[in-house]
Each structure stands twice: as C-alpha cells, then as structure tokens.
Amino acid sequence: MLTVSGLTIAFGATVAVRDVALTAAPGTVTGILGANGAGKTTTLLGILHRVPRRTGTVVLDGRDVTGHDTGALVRAGIALCPQNRRLFPNMSIADNLLLGAYGHGRAVRRERLARTYERFGWMRERADEPAGRLSGGQQQAVAIARALMSEPRLLLLDEPSSGLSPVAVQEIAGLLAEITADGTALLLVEQNVGLVRRLCSTAHILAHGRVTGAGPVSELLTDDTVSDAYLGTLT
C-alpha cells in the first residue's frame, strides 16, 4: 500500500507539483489523469526520488521511505516503467531485463530472468537481439518486464500506451491486468481513456500540479466537464 501525502516538487522558483496526496492499494490500478503539463510524470518521479522533493512523505506498506534514494526505493519494492519506455537500445533484451534486477546477486537475477522468460516466451527466443530493434509494443512489454525484474510491490507506469497501435494497447492492458491480479499495486499515468476505464478502479485528477479530484473512475469519467477538460473526448 502506497500513501503519498503533502508532496511538493519545485524546480527553482517553479512549483511543478503542490501538496499532492494519493494512495495505491495492492491488487488495484490507481490512475493519475490530467492534461499535458499537469504534473503527472513529475509526481511519479517524485515518488521514486528522481526529482528533488520540497515537502511530503512517501509511505510504503506502513514504512516511511521518504528520505530513501532511488536505489533503496527500488529495493523496498517500488519500480518505474518510464514514459517512452527508456530501454537501452544498443543492449540486448536479456541485458535490459537483467538491469531491472540490478543490486541482486547473480543467482537471483538468473532466477528472475528465467521466470520472465516463462511469462514472455518470445523474449527468451530473441534474448540477444538489441532492444532497439523491437516494435513499439514489444519494447513496452520489455520495459514492463524489466520493471518487474525487481519484483515490485508498487509499479509506477507512465503512459504505457503512448505511441502504440490499438492491438498493442490491448495486449499491454491484458498484461497489466495480470500483474494486478498477482497483488501488485499499480499507479498508472495515462491519457488513453479506454485503458483507464478498463484498468483503473480509482483515479486522481491533476491540474496545474494540484489534485483537483479523486474517486472511483466510474464516477470521475461520467463527469463530462472533467473528461473534456483533462482527457479530451471520451472514446
């Protein structure tokens, strides 16, 4: 269970995220919705301590991890699947996956890699191929699999459907549903309303760095004003 409270992130005099509070429960997908520049990605990066936090606390499963650096947060059970996937294109699929378990011993890395290959058979067959040669959907699957290599209890996902074909989006949606069913908490930043409807039980609406609404997705997305303002036309 993730509980973020009072999170404020500033870059110099510019406050990007102000006093954000949110929760993400195990086995559920919590959405963070909002227009471009609302502070969604910055919020995820703030949770993982990739940007300097001015104030706020981050509590994971009852343990205050606010002051931890990114490495400690990953070891504590938080993983990020970043926007635009951010794979290492010249490195092999296997190397990309193994980097997800950085800091663990060789035996643990190999065991997790074997488990990943059981889930994604095609990755084993193409293990030595550079990740940059894969299609967008395949790259997204590798990015998610890489994040799962740290065996997170909380997975932060930043626009996993971005730039993907409708078929690939459906495949990614199925994969995320599987991960949730395993008991992992997902915090999903997404602008694809269909994906949000399908996966998220609750969501938080961000605007200008503040939470302006929160609640069950079924209620939030029936409010046309909210939908039009932050997500565009519903599909």
């Binding site: 990739r50 990114t70 990953v74 010249n90 490195m91 980097l99 950085y102």
Partner: protein, 286 residues
C-alpha cells in the same frame, strides 16, 4: 611491409589503450579527460621510482598501474564529481587538472628525462623476417590482455552492464536504482588502470618526462573521435587503424608527416561517417 604492419600494430595498441580510457570516461560522464595524460605521467614516474628502489619490475609495474587507478579516482572525487551538472566547465577543469598533475611530476622529479629499464629490454623476437623488440611485444600482449579483461567486465558482469546502461541513458539507468557515483568512480578507476598500463608500455620505448604523454593524448583523442565518442570497440578499431596508417605513412612517405596522416584519416572518417566508425545513434560503452 610486414615489419611496418607490426610496428603499426604496436603503435595502434598504445593508442587503443589510452583511447579506451578516455572514451570510457566520456561515455559515462561526458568529460573530455585531458588529465589522463597527467595520470600516465605519474604512473610512469611511480613505476620508475619503485624500480629504482630495487623492486622487481613486475612489482614496479603493478605499483604504476595502481597509481594510475588511484590518481584517476582522485580526479573524479575531488574535481569532476562537482561539475557533473555543469558539463560546459568540464574541458577547463580537465585542462587545469592536467597542469596540476604535470606540475606535481615536475616538482617531484624535475624536467630531465628518465629511462625505464625492463627485464625484456634486450629481448628481440624474430619471426618470418619481422623483428619485434621485447618492449613492443610486451605492450601488444598487455594491451590485448587489458582490453580483453575490460570486454569481459563490460559484457559479463552486472557492474559492466550497469556502466553500459549509464553510458547510453544516464537518467533511465538512475530510474532503475543504479548508483551513478559508483559508476563514475568505476569508469575513472578503469581508465586510470589503463593509463597505468599505457605508462609502463610507453615508458621503456620513449623517455619519462612530465610532458611525455601530450602527443599520445592528442592521437588518442583523434582515435576516440574516429571510433565514435563513448564506443570502447570503436576506440580499439580506431587505435589500430590510426597506428597502422601512421606506421605506413612514416615508412613509405615521410616520418615527418606521421601525425598528419592520422589527421588525414580523421578528416576522411568525419566526412564519410560523421558519427565515427562504431558509433550508432545512441552513445554506448562496449
């Protein structure tokens, strides 16, 4: 002709060992590490000092290599680390460090040239009409062994994998929890150890002086650009290419223009393949 080729390979190995150290640091930290020449100088003087004190050459060589690694890490910890967010300052800091290291050598050892004796000074290898002095053969063996070990480190270990990841996308590597400082330090340590290897290879053939590595540093930077910034195997390929071209140029045209041939190759590569021999769209280490 085979003799010229072997001499070119010797020169190429020297360039490659120095250039790999430079490109590794550039790949991970984006620093043009001019101070590398100063590290080679201090490593060479350390080898000479320990040797003069009566220690066996192998021990002196190990001391020189260790000195290279230690001084290189010190430059990262005391200087480069503090300007990581200000990359425009890196060239000036690097030049400043070079001057400091050269002046430390000047202060400690004076400006007179020193020669380093090795147990294989008098060894002369002959095969198929080619003559290869022991010092040159030792360098080739040492270079191949060092670069082979580096290849294994980069491709077979978690640390090497992380270093390649940092070189390709520093922020993405950070998101996975890879500690940047450790990677920077490791890159400088490896570069320094390779600088030490270059020093013990270079010193017996040329003389040890505070400015002994200036010219080889210039050639190594040509190699780094030839091979593609941040590419280790580009640096190896570029080093061998430059060494062989300079060797043939010196033998068949004029040794006075030896460096000019290298620059000519650089211009040609930059015109035909602006990103370098082994570069791809993204930077890489390995």
């Amino acid at each position: 002709m085979t003799q010229v080729l072997v001499d070119g390979i010797f020169l190429g190995c020297l360039f490659a060992v120095v250039a790999v150290g430079l490109t590794l640091v550039y790949g991970v930290m984006e620093v043009p590490n001019f101070a590398h020449a100063g590290i080679i100088v201090l490593a060479a003087y350390t080898t000479w000092s320990v040797s003069q004190a009566g220690a066996p050459f192998v021990l002196a060589a190990l001391a020189g290599i260790a000195c290279g690694g230690a001084v290189s890490v010190l430059t990262e910890v005391l200087a480069y680390r503090w300007i990581i967010e200000r990359p425009a300052a890196a060239p000036a800091v690097a030049l400043g460090l070079l001057l400091i290291l050269q002046n430390v050598a000047l202060r400690l050892y004076g400006g007179a040239g020193r020669s380093l004796d090795t147990p294989y000074d008098t060894v002369l290898l002959r095969f198929g009409g080619v003559t290869l002095p022991g010092v040159k053969a030792a360098l080739i063996v040492l270079a191949v062994a060092s670069l082979g070990a580096l290849h294994l480190l980069l491709t077979r270990t978690s640390l090497g994998r992380a270093m390649r990841a940092v070189a390709q996308d520093r922020e993405a590597a950070g998101m996975l929890g890879i500690p940047m400082r450790r990677q920077y330090m490791l890159a400088f340590l490896i570069a320094g150890l390779l600088g030490g290897v270059a020093a013990i290879a270079y010193a017996p053939t040329f003389q040890i002086s505070p400015y002994m590595a200036d010219e080889v540093l210039l050639s190594a930077f040509v190699v780094v650009v030839l091979g593609g910034l941040g590419s280790v195997w580009g640096a190896v390929t570029g080093g061998l290419l430059l060494g062989i071209v300079q060797g043939f140029g010196a033998a068949y045209v004029s040794s006075a223009y030896q460096s000019a041939f290298g620059l000519l190759v650089l211009v040609l590569i930059l015109v035909l393949r602006p990103d370098g021999l082994r570069s791809t769209n993204a930077r890489r280490v390995a």
